[in-house]
Subunit: 301 residues, 2 copies
């Protein structure tokens, strides 16, 4: 089924203990689309300024990513993010950020996207996420990501969003912050009570926790790798792999969700092994399937 | 096969967000033995002062725990620990500690214990751990726990210990501290190079990572529970469940180790649902088997 992602396209400068990648391509929609396109065609919705040095048509060449919704806005400047990671690299430090075009009106939804069935709203202001939902005719699955900033400064909008979505993806710190519950299982249950049918809590190197409104629980460790170079985009490539699998399956029953989370997990594990999109661009579906099999075996007892 | 544990017996005062348990029974050897005795007979080795208010024969009544090695030392005082947990309760804060009898000579190994085949050395000074190893005739499996203190103040002793043991159990902070590696997979591999055939890294609410000298890897999430009341003894009851299973199986091949880690995981999940030993004392083998089945299902994809 059709899958639409809306999110950022960024000019990233990232420093990790393994080096610095200057002014490279980044952004949630970019990582997501690269990851999802292994599983299903992707409709891309996002906006850059006319200073954007990247040719996304070239980036996604050979992949089924529809760029009708890529808007290049004259006179605007592209989003820029500069960040760094230290230690176990579970959390990014934002060293500087220029929202630029992200502070303006969002990208216009092309008519050809309005019949989208699977919708992923990468992290942005919850009010904007809600607005986009209203523009899509009859989505079958709506999943949103968020961040601590919105829980902090736009809590009412975020709570309203929770009533409109089927699934929420967020990290463990955000789940604790929003619910005031330190226990992640309790936090995930509390979020489900606010609206979504399922919540996926991302725990970085420790994997993910899925909780459904029916109290079904799925826990999966991260794919163990000692080659982590740059965690940027781990969450977005996780979401891309997961949503791509779901859209291809055409449902989000529990067993499908579990498989989808496993796909997201291994795609994210590939992504973090190199800077920017390098690892995802060089990976193959065989790499993904090999890691899926290895992960499956590694958790068997 | 025979299983011996040596470790502490303590008078614990523990405060968590769920209340305070004053002067209750604790200590690594106690939690370990309670957990291991579901799977195999246990030989207990430890020392208390003559002020000890607990009757361990009563504590272990109905369980196959041999207390020949329990020494009540006249004129000495029992080990006391006062600690607290906040937030997600992954780490204990030590509010006060009185080593007392633990600063004196260790408990004397009874002759009837010298033919022990499976040996678990709970956290204590690595020099003492090494001494005990030398007193057991021909152990088939030696596993040790440790803590950051020994890595800090007795690193050479700890490194010497690593050459003498088959398996090491430690938490993620200790693994990072000892190796200087932030990536846990890399840290576990580095520890295996120092001697042990396998390393088990405990990650609290995030589960465990097993790495063997042959680079075999097993990852298991913690059993998801939102009823955590007191994490004291989580690591020791994990080790007890694990070693109990191994001793009963009589080997530590990879598949046995995986099963054993799963047993340790669910026993620890039961233990933390109440203060002191309350949960372990009330649990049954059916509770353990039910959680094993649930955990197995919860990680399937």
């Amino acid at each position: 089924m059709s899958l639409l992602v809306t999110g950022s396209i960024g000019i990233d400068t990232v420093t990790t203990p393994f080096g610095t990648s200057e002014a490279c391509l980044g952004g949630s929609a970019v990582y997501f689309s690269m990851a999802a396109s292994w599983f299903t065609p992707v409709r891309f919705l996002g906006v850059v300024g006319d200073d954007c040095p990247f040719d996304l048509h070239k980036t996604f060449s050979g992949r089924d990513v529809d760029l009708t919704g890529l808007e290049v806005r004259a006179g605007s400047k592209t989003f820029r993010w500069q960040g760094s990671y230290v230690g176990a690299m579970n959390d990014a430090n934002t060293d500087s950020v220029e929202l630029n075009v992200l502070e303006e009106a969002p990208a216009t939804l092309p008519d050809s996207y309005t019949d989208t069935e699977f919708l992923f709203l990468a992290n942005t202001a919850p009010a904007l996420q809600s607005q986009l939902i209203d523009k899509v005719n009859a989505p079958k699955l709506i999943v949103a990501d968020t961040m601590n900033l919105w829980i902090d400064i736009a809590r009412a909008d975020f709570e309203a969003l929770l009533k409109k979505i089927d699934g929420l993806v967020l990290n463990e710190g955000e789940a604790r912050m929003f619910t005031g519950k330190d226990n992640l299982v309790a936090a995930a249950k509390a979020i489900c009570k606010e609206g979504p049918k399922f919540v996926i809590v991302k725990k970085g190197e420790h994997g993910t926790l899925l909780m459904t409104k029916n109290n079904e629980c799925f826990v999966l460790p991260a794919y163990p790798t000692d080659k982590v170079k740059d965690p940027t985009g781990a969450g977005d490539s996780f979401a891309g792999g997961m949503m791509g699998y779901l859209a291809n399956a055409g449902n989000y029953e529990l067993n499908t969700l579990k498989q989808a989370i496993a796909c997201g997990t291994v795609v994210a594990s590939l992504n973090i092994e190199n800077f920017s999109l390098d690892a995802l661009q060089n990976a193959t579906i065989d790499d993904i399937n090999n890691r899926l099999n290895t992960l499956k075996e590694m958790i068997q007892f």
